[in-house]
Symmetry: C2
Subunit: 380 residues, 2 copies
Amino acid sequence: VHCGIKSERPDLALVVADGPVAAAGMFTQNKTRSAPVIQSEARLKSGRARAVVVNSGNSNAMTGRRGAEDALAMAEAAAAALGCPVEQILVASTGVIGRPLPIDKIRAGMPAAVAALGADGMAAANAIMTTDAFPKTAAVTIEAGDGLVTIGGIAKGAGMIHPNMATMIAVMTTDAAIEPPALRQALRAAVGASFNCISVDGDTSTSDTVIALASAASGTAPIQPGTPRFDTFVAGLTDVAQRLAKLIVKDGEGATRLIEVRIRGARNDAEARMAANAVMTSMLVKTMFYGSELNWGRVTAAAGRSGAEVDTDRMQLWIGEVGVVRDGVGVPATYRQAEALLKAEEIVMTLDLGLGQGAFTGWTNDLGESYVKINSGYLT
Amino acid sequence: VHCGIKSERPDLALVVADGPVAAAGMFTQNKTRSAPVIQSEARLKSGRARAVVVNSGNSNAMTGRRGAEDALAMAEAAAAALGCPVEQILVASTGVIGRPLPIDKIRAGMPAAVAALGADGMAAANAIMTTDAFPKTAAVTIEAGDGLVTIGGIAKGAGMIHPNMATMIAVMTTDAAIEPPALRQALRAAVGASFNCISVDGDTSTSDTVIALASAASGTAPIQPGTPRFDTFVAGLTDVAQRLAKLIVKDGEGATRLIEVRIRGARNDAEARMAANAVMTSMLVKTMFYGSELNWGRVTAAAGRSGAEVDTDRMQLWIGEVGVVRDGVGVPATYRQAEALLKAEEIVMTLDLGLGQGAFTGWTNDLGESYVKINSGYLT
């Protein structure tokens, strides 16, 4: 619903289970964490929650003691409207940093949010958007061995996006039966292969939050770690998380392309991640993709400054399946073909560092003028 | 002079001493170093050089074995034209990565470059420019205790600029008498407080090179490390280097402002540098400066993700002398005054992390649409 934090668009979302259910969360690693992040992380120690309340338009970060009070008041308002203990409420906020939360508007809007609850997540996906161009949802149904289990999710995020989460909030729900420790383990795996592999602008935020709720409503047996059913559940959760994560990159502020960056041939996976990180955040690489120009030296140079070891005489680079650098030297005969691929909306680029077996895959986007437009006039 | 690497503008520069003189250099830490970087670093082990030849328009990086041969051929051409051994020639190249150097054009242009030699460095400062909007020179004269010593320099650089040097080349010359080991020590100190403290876009390049030549032509006594005369010399060299470094930031691609970022209150200097680095490279911070918007949460959030420890309840932020964040909370009464300061061409921003005595000062610029325009159509 629209409660008035933003001038016109929806800004208050509720995701509610029928009762307290298994819950797990992962949060920003930024050291200036927002009040809702601190509060929700503490609440999740119990492993149970009934609802998540999310507002957009104000992140309630860098707001001091009043921020903590407002985050609590937001949870209390949701608890009162839902008729449940405040301990069962998780909160998340996203938007401008450093402004007091208009808590009275949130309080006043809560009954309407409860009245609007339904089975469709699209309204909630809309209400958590900030600079997002489109709402982000994904869902899969998996065979849990003794019946079907559904995993769904909503997410927001378009800027301040970087590995170790971003200005992004995602809520994933499932009717699987799974105890909190197992749900935590599954969530950690899914986030590690999705939200922690994307970059829009290299900035992580004060507010990044991923929450998973598991209701057991499917009636299937509890999913235990170390079983094939657990692996299937993790794969399903990862699938939903990856689809949401890629939607965030695709919706990156000012972006026109989604680029999958595959690093191969690193000394180890950690160095592959370092190289990918440098390539995915390089403004020179990102503007190159925006212009569809094959200025591949920017890619190799970004890897070269990443801290990862490289063998310049054995580096290889492919755009899609087209090899443009072989043994550290460009292959001009292939440039035209590669440049044609750079005009696509989705691009796969593979860089081999020429050393070992280390590998990493991440997703980034291009950098256009409108990123600057959006972010130089954000407050107004 | 113009030798034809670029279509019209000057692209070949020579800096020549009357004979072999004390020489020192510092080079990129990028692991995909260019052929000229590798060659010049090896040459400088002797501590002596007579000339530096620099071309713009092509960085001779990621060019394999041919690149090494071309870098040598470039030095040989300069040696032949100057009538000195090739061992006395240092080379540097800047421009597009991954294209063979048009060595025939450089060979053909060398006699004209020698013929154009003069006492004024402006022509050389012009010929080393790539995307630079203006040539960069600086000079100081210092009292060496027994007479005057002059230190001058030229530099280029506007993009791929980041701590640990950048796509930048600087040549500094002095008539001081100073032995190579002392010159190296002085250069390391000067670069550490200048070129290694600036950031335009977070990318370091394959080609970054700073070279200092000391001719002893002043007739003053040799400058020895550990003496007040050495400190005076280092201060002078640092002054020239800082002025050149700030000119590079000011000329940052698409930049309209020069921002001095002062970090205070870090646990130690290393963490202060980490925080400054995150703030100086944050696209969200840089677009904020472009738009003259006081979205200060981007600054504190960048520090928060930098890896440096912060005390959110004690963070302070000043724009100029105006405190906008006190004890981790915004001070709205000061915002209007601070926003007015954000419209200036030169801005000082001080962030106190609220912990210890660690401090660092660096320089960055803002990020405007034209950065994207320049870098998405660089090759064409």
